[in-house]
Symmetry: C2
Subunit: 317 residues, 2 copies
């Protein structure tokens, strides 16, 4: 029986060939990695954005274009690589000139910022759906989920829970002002390309937090065959969250809610100074929220273990 | 105003960067081509399959999987290249274990035959949609649409019009037997990978006939800046078509109808013997249907010019 996304992956891996001589990383990380020379690899990701799970009717066409590409670029960031080429398979219910132009302006914003090239794709008629592939190349080391070492510091970039908080506050008349402050984190997440590239020299493992810290950190833990201790009170967030989000939903927001598109990564302790320098240069908080242990994930709140019943995002469960 | 697929492409090319130093071919051919070394390039295609334009409710899940990958592999065939890696972004309305297993068996049929590896993708919930990317590598020369030379023979592989004929005969009680004979050409088109590879040494230009010979040959003509003369009576098809398809729809079937997934290519005359040898070895008809001229496309039926009012497939017009 196939009950969730992970069952589909298990079925594919059991029944279909996923290996090839130059494929350094196949299914199971933020990107697939194909070696193209001794020093150079292509890192490749593909993600589909749909109305419902990824955007809603209140998004502008610009925001839909922007976010669809952000989610793909975030996968390249998690590998510590440079995005280069885009392919777009776009399904549109109708040809609305203004919508299409505005959508592509959202795409163009990233293309210009990161010096990308849109080099292929196709267009179809049907329910709105945006499938994007991005190919990147490595600058130095490629970061994987399976490289975490015992006693590594666990970091996150930026602030967590803001996209989920925006989703909770949306359409609540009382919180229009607060929603408008948080909205950009939900509608236009910034892919952490610069941070990924700077980290790639120092970090041992990395993942982007698209399905929630709990689920995405678990991928690092499982694939690196280790454990983790997380200090909940150190998880960086916006001051509004403690004020606005009901206590029962607070940690769900912080570590269960997806769509943060920040990076979670592990670095050996002697690199703390380098991390501080990178944070300062990028003007982006890089916060230690825990450490890699030998087994299991343990959450602590001010030194006391806290049991949390939180699942990450799965499209089918 | 954006009125069709080609307007979207024009808008993209005007407003978004589509160039990059190692990109040998960007938007505008069956695949994009990225140079990875002096001798080696990646050829990359992406295509989405949807219920309606690409398959209908009567397709089995196996056929949907098979055909979705066929259409992508056909693009690699048109470049004369070897398919290697697949990425699949799958949107499913629900998790139906039997459907999913049967779908992936359709994918696996190609994976085994062509020694491919499925190395990435994602899964979402929503209206059924299958976005596949295939990366191939060149064996020798890469075939483009813009390489046709004056006086080249124009060839097609296999037989044309069969998929369209199946579509016309579908659901007509009188023609159940005939539909069942032609159905495989509509539901399970064979990507001409072997033919593309053999041709790649000799041909000057190539395209796959997915939107109909009329439209796809026009791409060769426009991009190669030349013309063509087509001898309608030489276009290879199945004997059933003359018998079953009304005269008014006959040429529409043969050269207007899409989904043949055969190759249309041009080769200089001195290579005729080589073409005959390839056809014999592959047990696949390779038929000369016309020649490259200086300008315009001219259709002739037994020596007499014939005006045809046929458009190829466009999702929006």
């Amino acid at each position: 029986m196939i009950k969730n996304e992970s069952d589909i992956l298990d079925y594919i891996q059991a029944k279909i060939n996923t290996k090839s001589p130059n494929v350094v990383k196949s299914i199971g990380d933020d990107c697939a990695v194909i070696r193209i020379s001794n020093k150079q690899s292509f890192v490749i990701t593909t993600d589909t954005s749909l109305e419902g799970p990824h955007f809603t009717k209140d998004y502008t066409a610009f925001e839909i274009g922007y976010k669809s590409l952000s989610t793909n670029l975030s996968d390249i960031a998690a590998m510590g690589c440079i995005p280069k080429y885009i392919f777009m398979s776009l399904t549109l219910p109708k040809l609305d000139t203004n919508w299409i132009k505005s959508f592509y302006k959202g795409i163009a914003a990233h293309v210009e910022k990161f010096n990308l090239a849109l080099i292929g794709g196709d267009t179809n008629r049907g329910p709105l759906s945006i499938s994007i592939q991005v190919i990147g190349i490595n600058k130095s080391k490629i970061l994987y989920r399976d490289g975490a070492n015992f006693d590594d510091d666990i970091y996150v970039s930026g602030k967590l829970g803001l996209a989920r908080a925006a989703l909770i506050l949306k359409n609540k008349k009382k919180f229009i002002k607060e929603f408008n402050m948080l909205k950009k984190h939900l509608h236009m997440p910034i892919p952490r390309i610069d941070a990924g590239l700077k980290l790639s020299k120092f970090a041992n493992s990395c993942i982007d937090i698209s399905d929630g810290l709990m689920k995405d950190l678990s991928s690092i833990i499982n694939q690196s065959n280790c454990g983790a201790e997380i200090y909940l009170e150190r998880i960086p967030t916006h001051r509004l969250l403690k004020k606005l989000i009901p206590k029962s939903k607070y940690y769900e927001c912080l570590i269960g809610g997806g769509e943060d598109y920040e990076l979670c990564f592990t670095v050996s302790k002697p690199q703390r100074k380098n991390m501080q320098l990178i944070a300062k240069n990028l003007k982006l908080p890089l916060t230690i929220i825990g450490k890699i242990t030998k087994k299991k994930i343990l959450f602590k709140e001010n030194g006391v273990e806290k049991k949390l019943n939180i699942k990450g995002f799965d499209h089918f469960s």
